[in-house]
């Protein structure tokens, strides 16, 4: 196989999907009152501002749905227009909103959202896991649309990134969800990665989840080179990286 460099096909073929675009705006704007609450509220949850987690989820979902809306513009017009796609996008939207309502509501009430083992919260937890898988499945579904266009290196990279986001996130997040908490191992003295807050001294299952979910951003960067070999190598390398971080976290060790 010869690696040929061709300019990637960064052609905008359609308008952003209206539902995904509206969802992105909505999730971004509803973060505003949470920021105000964060400024006024003195409550801590496991040592952090109680509103930090909701704000992280709003940010993450804005990036997720915003990226999917932007990627959708590279697909032929009408790719998401069928009745089946409209219903599916409606379901994904409902799951996204339910997920945020659950996380924001838990913060307002001062209880755990994930890892909740008492009362109503523990009954909701598995249900929210299902909603999370459904909303993540949108990256797989859109990845398969891009796979049809894989003769172009950029489209191939987006296809692989999106498919990997689903394929890697489900086990990474599933492992995290089925653990008693996000940390594995002791002692926890509080050494953390800056900004992200992952533990720098024991295993933190949030790190492989984060990396897995950002396959959709990492692999397409390789696609911008127009080199298919680089795309496949990045996809393989990124998968290995996620696997490495997941195994290390399960052993109770920081990634490096």
């Amino acid at each position: 196989m010869t690696a040929t460099l061709t300019a990637p096909r960064l052609a905008v073929l359609s308008r952003p999907d209206p539902l995904l675009l509206r969802l992105t705006w909505f999730v971004a704007l509803t973060a505003l009152p949470l920021m105000v609450a964060s400024g006024l509220d003195g409550r801590l949850f496991q040592g952090d501002d109680i509103w930090l987690k909701p704000l992280k989820f709003h940010l993450a979902l804005v990036v997720y749905t915003g990226t999917l809306a932007l990627f959708g513009m590279l697909l032929p017009a009408g790719s998401l227009a069928s009745r089946r796609w409209r219903l599916y996008l409606g379901l994904v939207t409902a799951c996204t909103l339910a997920e945020l309502l659950w996380i924001d509501g838990a913060a307002a009430l001062g209880t755990a959202s994930h890892f909740n083992t008492t009362g109503f919260g523990s009954a909701l937890y598995p249900l929210m896991g299902l909603a999370a898988v459904i909303l993540t499945s949108l990256s797989l579904a859109m990845g398969l649309l891009f796979w049809r266009e894989r003769q172009d290196a950029l489209h191939l990279s987006i296809a692989l990134g999106l498919i990997l986001t689903f394929v890697l996130t489900v086990p990474a997040a599933g492992t995290l969800a089925n653990n008693p908490g996000h940390l594995v191992g002791t002692p926890v003295t509080g050494a953390r990665f800056p900004f992200f807050g992952w533990s720098a001294e024991v295993g933190d299952l949030r790190l492989p989840h984060f990396l897995a979910t950002h396959a959709m951003h990492a692999v397409p960067l390789a696609g911008l080179t127009g080199n298919r070999t680089a795309v496949w190598a990045t996809a393989a390398g990124f998968t290995a990286l996620v696997g490495w971080c997941l195994v290390r976290a399960l052993q109770g060790l920081p990634p490096f």
């Binding site: 009152p33 105000v36 609450a37 964060s38 400024g39 006024l40 409550r43």
Partner: protein
């Protein structure tokens, strides 16, 4: 931020909106943007933040008058209640200005209704409804 500090910011902010409404014949669009959207939405944002942060510890409830009175013994919840007044009264004032303009009710006749809405919200709404019915025979929004 303490509830007192927020209170000290919110009052002049609302007052600014009311001044914009009083001066609205000079610049109707700007007055509407400030008093009908920007300031009420800012106050609403602060209100929503307060409720998200403090509702869980609020005493009392909605079920009886003593419960409601107990609710307002909590400083942040009482502040939220005050912001509720400020935001909704101003929003209503902006609606009165807009409606009066559209229906040809003179601004000088509207001014007493705006003052009443500012000071005693629902009494201002009632005054505007009476004025409007008297002048243009309309009640529905």
């Amino acid at each position: 931020m303490t509830p007192d500090a927020l209170f000290q910011i919110a009052n002049p902010l609302a007052l600014l909106g009311w001044l914009a409404l009083l001066a609205s014949p000079l610049a109707p669009r700007a007055a509407h943007a400030v008093a009908g959207a920007a300031i009420p939405l800012l106050l609403s944002l602060a209100y929503a933040g307060l409720v998200l942060a403090f509702w869980w510890q609020a005493p009392g409830g909605f079920g009886s008058l003593p419960e409601v009175m107990r609710l307002f013994t909590h400083p942040q919840i009482a502040l939220a209640g005050w912001l509720h007044y400020l935001a909704f009264d101003l929003f209503l004032g902006a609606w009165e200005v807009r409606t009066a303009r559209a229906e040809g009710i003179p601004h000088w006749a509207l001014v007493p209704c705006l003052v009443l809405t500012f000071l005693f919200g629902p009494a201002g709404l009632l005054a505007f409804a009476i004025l409007r019915f008297t002048l243009v025979r309309k009640v529905l929004p």
